[in-house]
């Protein structure tokens, strides 16, 4: 199994009483709540944690992109990736990912990834995402065209990486007389492309198709859903006429390890519950803007919501551990849960979120060390 030490870089000094007066920690949360002196310390701590992940033997470190939110302080994840390249020697640097539809010029994304790939001498993993629904409020981009723009930007970027330039790109949303990348990517034909997703069936089929075979990562979902989505990918691969390998299947989850199950729950509680209830929670109008999903899947989502009643209450660590959305416990418990997922799906990429919500530097470090010493060695191939 391959291990990614993934980070969201939340703004932990957030005034939670003030946060609760707003509908979300995204887009509408006043940035007067951000203190740059504290924020700068956060960046330093988080870069130290990711750098330490190399020492601990992780295969990759991972960052991602979110805008106008205390949930994550990386609107420009490639800046963090660049800093990590300078601080590390061998570990892969995974940007999981860049939100392709949000930019007016996807060539910039192709260029930045190519630069990072050169700077790191081929250590970059390029994640491509649509961006979650809130990003369409943050950027003003019309969610109706999100999927079209994603696919078109993907074609443009991969073309820019692989086709001799200059060439002309003629699309619906993007049109360029000259596409001619300087520098070209270091890796041949280009950095690996991974697709993190909440699990839309359209995305799964698209990623699995034989001309792409992109590793697909299911993020922050209940155990049962993760297994279902990864197996959907396997089924799609079979329909395309091949068997998906474990290296095409990834699971991203918050993980916390301590000596005992009980201690793990106690230590992780504030971090996990703040992640889901304070940082991630969004009203559906923000999370699912019209057009972001297909109309049919949105109709289904709304019917499920109606059946469940109005807004869900606060999530507890017990709920989240029970559903398998988070993996928390003794080394043995954590190993077993990961092994169980491997038995169910054959997945081989574990994207572990070892700092989450308000979890302190000290507990994060202990968590990382225990995960690396007591869990990883048992699961490495």
């Amino acid at each position: 199994m391959k291990f990614v030490c993934f980070h969201l870089m939340p703004y932990r000094p957030l005034d939670m009483a003030a946060r609760k007066q707003h509908r979300s920690a995204w887009v509408v949360l006043p940035n007067s709540l951000y203190d740059p002196v504290k924020g700068a310390e956060e960046y330093e701590s988080y870069l130290d944690q990711l750098t330490y992940a190399e020492t601990l033997g992780f295969d990759a470190v991972g960052v991602n992109e979110h805008h106008q939110t205390a949930y994550g302080m990386m609107p420009a994840p490639n800046l963090i990736a660049s800093a990590l390249i300078q601080r590390t020697k061998k570990v892969k640097v995974a940007i999981l990912g860049r939100a392709l539809p949000l930019t007016s010029n996807p060539i910039w994304i192709a260029e930045e990834f190519a630069m990072l790939d050169n700077l790191s001498k081929g250590r970059i993993i390029a994640g491509f995402v649509r961006g979650i629904g809130t990003e369409y409020h943050a950027t003003g981009l019309n969610p109706s065209f999100s999927l079209e723009r994603f696919q078109e930007a993907h074609d443009l970027i991969v073309g820019a990486w692989t086709r001799p330039g200059p060439f002309e790109f003629e699309g619906e949303h993007f049109n360029f007389r000259y596409v001619n990348l300087w520098p070209r990517p270091y890796q041949t034909p280009h950095p690996p492309i991974w697709i993190p997703s909440m699990g839309s069936s359209e995305t799964i089929r698209w990623a699995a198709s034989s001309e792409r075979k992109y590793p697909f990562l299911v993020t922050f979902s209940a155990h049962e859903l993760v297994a279902r989505y990864l197996n959907l990918y396997r089924d799609a691969a079979k329909q395309f006429g091949y068997e998906a390998s474990g290296d095409q299947l990834g699971w991203a989850a918050p993980i916390y390890v301590a000596d005992t199950d009980e201690r793990a729950r106690v230590e992780a509680k504030a971090g996990i519950e703040s992640l889901f209830n304070d940082y991630l929670a969004n009203p559906w109008e923000m999370l699912l803007p019209p057009g972001y999903t297909s109309l049919s899947s949105m109709k289904n989502t709304m019917r499920v919501r109606k059946a469940l009643g109005s807004r869900a209450g606060k999530l507890t660590i017990d709920d989240l551990a029970e559903s398998g959305t988070v993996v928390v416990g003794s080394p043995r418990t954590v190993r077993e849960k990961i092994e169980r997922m491997r038995d169910l799906t054959g997945f081989n990429i574990l994207v572990s979120l070892l700092q989450f919500g308000v979890l302190s530097n000290e507990l994060t470090r202990r968590n990382m060390e225990m995960f690396a010493s007591e869990v990883m060695p048992h699961l490495k191939a």
Binding site: N142, S144, G291
Partner: protein, 260 residues
């Protein structure tokens, strides 16, 4: 008055249309919330006019609306629509999104219009006066912000839509986003060409509109050549619903005045 429901076909696109009354034809274009069905406001108008109320392509069902990707497509669609109507010229009335479509149509070609009536139209932005964010509002906020008289909001919120109605509302929301998400509810070019509206124009605005504030009437007053602007007191964004009688009377008086 019982309207007739028929299908109106333009090219590949067929839409529902209600029709009642006799007299010079009056075409009503609905707002982003969707096709209103037959409401008391139309009865008032239908006492003097043949009233036509079509559903926009993409509303109710997204089928066959793939070619309508933005407001310009919608304006061109309605020019085709008017060509196929069999009437020489119509009085065109639109609310909110429907007013925006009507104005986009009129700056392109007024040949099939006798007059234009815009009820709190979208389409033109006034800098420094923020509009409401209907895409971030919860259903409750939306109802509260659309009406001045909260009794209307209470009635709206008391209704639990059936699955079928909920699907239609969701479809309307999808199409509204396609047309109005970015730039939000306006077309930067439209204001530059408002002088091309060559028919008599009435602009009505609810004085307490929390979605498009009544200050948004100003550019229309300044730039449309033959325009009358009137405010409807104690009224939100949907005057034809909240103040149906007053709104219909103002429109009829305006149309009468043009004939005199």
């Amino acid at each position: 008055m019982a309207p007739r429901e028929q299908q109106h076909q333009v090219g590949e696109i067929s839409v529902r249309m209600l029709r009642a009354g006799e007299g010079e034809p009056l075409l009503f274009l609905h707002g982003a919330g969707g096709w209103p069905g037959w409401i008391p406001f139309f009865d008032k108008l239908a006492a003097h006019h043949e009233v036509l109320v079509p559903e926009h392509p993409g509303f109710g069902t997204l089928e066959k609306a793939a070619a309508i990707r933005d407001i310009a497509d919608m304006a061109m669609y309605y020019l085709d629509f008017l060509d196929g109507l069999g009437a020489d010229r119509v009085h065109l009335v639109g609310n909110s999104l429907g007013g925006w479509i009507a104005a986009e149509l009129a700056v392109r070609n007024c040949a099939r219009l006798q007059s234009l009536c815009l009820i709190s139209p979208a389409g033109v932005r006034v800098k420094g006066v923020p509009m409401g964010d209907n895409f971030i509002w919860s259903p409750e906020e939306a109802a509260r912000n659309l009406f001045h008289d909260q009794a209307f909001a209470d009635r709206m919120l008391a209704i639990t839509p059936t699955d079928e109605e909920a699907d239609r509302l969701l479809t309307n929301r999808f199409m509204a986003a396609r047309l109005g998400w970015q730039p939000r509810w306006f077309d930067p070019a439209l204001e530059r060409w408002l002088h091309r509206i060559t028919v008599p124009t009435l602009v009505l605005w609810g004085e307490n509109d929390k979605f498009l504030p009544s200050a948004y009437a100003e550019p229309w007053r300044e730039r449309v050549p033959d325009v009358r602007v009137e405010t409807i007191v104690a009224c939100g964004h949907l005057p034809h619903v909240e103040k149906a009688d007053v709104t219909a009377e103002k429109i009829l008086a305006f149309l009468d005045g043009r004939r005199a």
